[in-house]
């Protein structure tokens, strides 16, 4: 996965969290900040996935993970598939019409 540099001003309080992480995880400040940004991004992407705003395949691409990883992550976060009523009706109609022996 490639990386780019980006100029960014961050709140002092966030840098305190970064300091904490450097000590807890034995990493340098830049790594700690990158990890925190990634954790926030992961939560955001999974939130979009939960709402049905993005698909499994897109979530996997955005997070640089496999689709299996995303489903496991969803399981850990208690994210479950939610079908709208119209989806249920359309699926029930299709299954009766198409799945015959």
């Amino acid at each position: 996965m490639g990386s780019i540099s980006y100029p960014l001003r961050v709140p002092e309080t966030l840098m305190e969290v970064v300091e904490l992480r450097t000590k807890e995880e034995y990493v340098d400040k830049a790594t700690a900040l990158r990890q925190l940004v990634y954790m926030g991004a992961e939560d955001y992407v999974m939130c979009l996935y939960k709402k049905g705003r993005i698909s499994l395949s897109l979530a996997a691409k955005l997070l640089g993970k496999s689709v299996h990883d995303v489903l496991r992550l969803a399981l850990e976060k208690g994210i479950k598939t939610e079908h709208r009523d119209e989806h249920h009706k359309a699926s029930e109609k299709a299954v009766r019409k198409l799945m015959k022996k």
Binding site: R53, I54, S55, L56, S57, K61, A74, H87, L98, K101
Partner: protein
Amino acid sequence: MMTKFVLDSDCLIKLTKSQILKKLVENFNCIISEKVYDECVVEGKKRFYEDASQIDDLVISKKLGVRKAGRNVNVRKMIGEINTLGSGEISTLFLFFNTKADAVISDDQAFLDVLYKNSISFIVPVDVIIRLTELRVITVKEALEGLERLAPYIREKDYLRAKKLLEVKKYG
């Protein structure tokens, strides 16, 4: 001619976990795109997911087909404005149109939205389990066990609805 279904990564993995996929592909013509094969099998095997090996076994035994999705102008137009799908779902759409399949099987809400809005037939995995029971492809016991394995991934309301339907079939 046997009914043809196109499966995406989401339903492929969930139906594998519920141990229903094998029964489905043995009784219906099921295909996946090369991209979905990469997502589920190639990437899954790299990370040692057991589901990936189980899906690959069905591909190797030619029960589950892997096809080139190709391109389709109508699908391009359809997805032109859509930025909610990944390459796996988009390749599934191409494959659906290019092979003149009957329906897509998926459990992905963002994908189902696109399918519904474009009047494309789709079936969700829970309905596959219920229907295979009605067709006596699987027993009620197998269906209930499959549903239990699927339960962590689906909403409780959907789980209970399916369980109730299956128990009615079991006990009459």
